[in-house]
Subunit: 203 residues, 4 copies
Amino acid sequence: MNLQESSEKLSAIGFDFYRRGWVLGTSGNFSSMVTRVPFQVCITASGNEKGTLVESHFLTVDANGRVTSGEGKPSAETLLHLAIYRLRENAAAILHTHSVWGTILSDVFYQNGAIEVEGYEMLKGLAGVTTHEHRERLPIVENSQDYVALSHVIENTLRENPAAHGVYLRRHGLYTWGESIAEAKRHIEIFEFLFEVTGRSLK
Amino acid sequence: MNLQESSEKLSAIGFDFYRRGWVLGTSGNFSSMVTRVPFQVCITASGNEKGTLVESHFLTVDANGRVTSGEGKPSAETLLHLAIYRLRENAAAILHTHSVWGTILSDVFYQNGAIEVEGYEMLKGLAGVTTHEHRERLPIVENSQDYVALSHVIENTLRENPAAHGVYLRRHGLYTWGESIAEAKRHIEIFEFLFEVTGRSLK
Amino acid sequence: MNLQESSEKLSAIGFDFYRRGWVLGTSGNFSSMVTRVPFQVCITASGNEKGTLVESHFLTVDANGRVTSGEGKPSAETLLHLAIYRLRENAAAILHTHSVWGTILSDVFYQNGAIEVEGYEMLKGLAGVTTHEHRERLPIVENSQDYVALSHVIENTLRENPAAHGVYLRRHGLYTWGESIAEAKRHIEIFEFLFEVTGRSLK
Amino acid sequence: MNLQESSEKLSAIGFDFYRRGWVLGTSGNFSSMVTRVPFQVCITASGNEKGTLVESHFLTVDANGRVTSGEGKPSAETLLHLAIYRLRENAAAILHTHSVWGTILSDVFYQNGAIEVEGYEMLKGLAGVTTHEHRERLPIVENSQDYVALSHVIENTLRENPAAHGVYLRRHGLYTWGESIAEAKRHIEIFEFLFEVTGRSLK
């Protein structure tokens, strides 16, 4: 998918997610694969509100996070996107959001190491899940401002949790991905729904 | 009502319900009667987001669930729609949604066999109910991926609960219907309102 | 204000309130004064969804609730509107909504006879209130399907609570009014805000 | 920034915040700096709904709060805006909102003297904050209808809390500011997000 098409689709998602309160302030960042070989990823530039994105708010980076086109600084969390693309070879898009319920659960379940959800029909919205009897284990990683270190932690976490459809940075936000932008968006919605159900069911 | 008119009305409902969070991901499915004799039902095809439906996302099926027009696979839950049309002879439309509060209540009240709501003015929004003193008993059915078996369970449940305006699949979602698309939509709104009141009143 | 202008303003309010979940299903009803002498009130006809009102969904009634123009049946609760116009001589508009938080509070505080709110800056949005130190006492009346009897109860309640800016029908909904449609709308928003604050603060 | 540009940006914020329920009724008020020397501030006139602002709903005032252009009365809380502009020399815009969660927290934490939030990634949306390890201390001031006295209290509070990004009037609302209108808006969103997380996490 070329840069223009990617940026249009990701901008539409930003418009929507902003209104739902999942990317308030200038939080969140989105990327999608332009080409695997040579490795080119389209990613939101740093510091823009996600509800009003246009093509110039995106740039492309290579496998080392170097800007190959576009203006501005790539998202500070570009290294985390790159780590996910390395470890999830089929990922064609990555979405990162900050929601109220996710933030709360990432703290409540930090000691367990993961947010675990089981027995809901909505789990079938996660790629490859065909029954509500699935247990999704979403690993929680301690937050950090050292993105190099954090990208290594995320690599290890993805390696140790091959079935996970996302990873949660504690008190920070959700990373999920998909084989298409639409699949990544669906994963966000599924997780957010399940977070709200789980959060509202806490004693 | 012909296919075009049905699909337009159901698409508008999808647009609205998606924004309220009742059909996130690609969850939910909608149908309406085209003709009773011969039996022709318009139903959402499988796998589409309900917030952006257009006519090509619908197809028609006969009484056995065989596709008679349109492209794609009918919703995996087509058998459940057909069971409801058989048991509720006046039903002209069926809506199925997944909401946070409904999901929670279907679990909390599973042992009771039903979500029971009584004494609210909003109950009068259910067809035939003329006083807030009505008690609505919404049966809860265990969820299953075996839709043939599930359709039989739903048939029995509807037979045993002739006054019920809907049925809830545990940790899955609500089925309700109406003598028109508008009535089915009203039933969804009434149930969702009552679910939220009941859910927020839980100790 | 003539019928066309009234119906346009009330329709815009319906559009807005429906999206906030305060008039789901076909619940709620709205009226405004066309002329005090002779007494002519514009009121929503029965059975329409409040999110998509147009002028033909309104009719005018006289002081006895007889239809003087327009088609359809006036709202079943017309007698309650008339009682309020009799007892609140400056009322030029009346709005009636059904919200989740109001419904819950009307039940929780029924034994107290009123929802009482005190000490919030938002109280200043109620006509004539100039300080947050105001205590608003919103009387709760038991719900009934006998609107003749209920209209008498509401008359007595308004007489006994001359400072009240509204009245709540238990497990049913809020009635409030204003010297203009805009003031009545503001009162709904103020009450809804205060209901949510009060409801979320309940132990 | 001239009056027209300021009023357009502030009106767009009002449109947005009204829909989120942060300026219901006619609550809230917004201002931005036109010129520091001579001191000219653009501020919302009193009594208008914030969801439908146009340029004529704004006026300009000087350092003493005297109207220098525009019609109507300046917001009753103009003195509070002026106090903030005096104490925060880089402030180019001030936004004041009334939200449900903020109102609740300002009461719950009143005895502590501040709403304190620590350890969330979203804190980085506050100007100058570069790590989630930041602790934001948002002072709570008792509400009052004596705006002269209140403006002195706010001056003292800002002097004693040089790092604070806002101040909360108890059971009333949030004041925050920024070096631009966009930054002030971002601060509102960050605080509201953190209020909701904190409020929903209260035992």
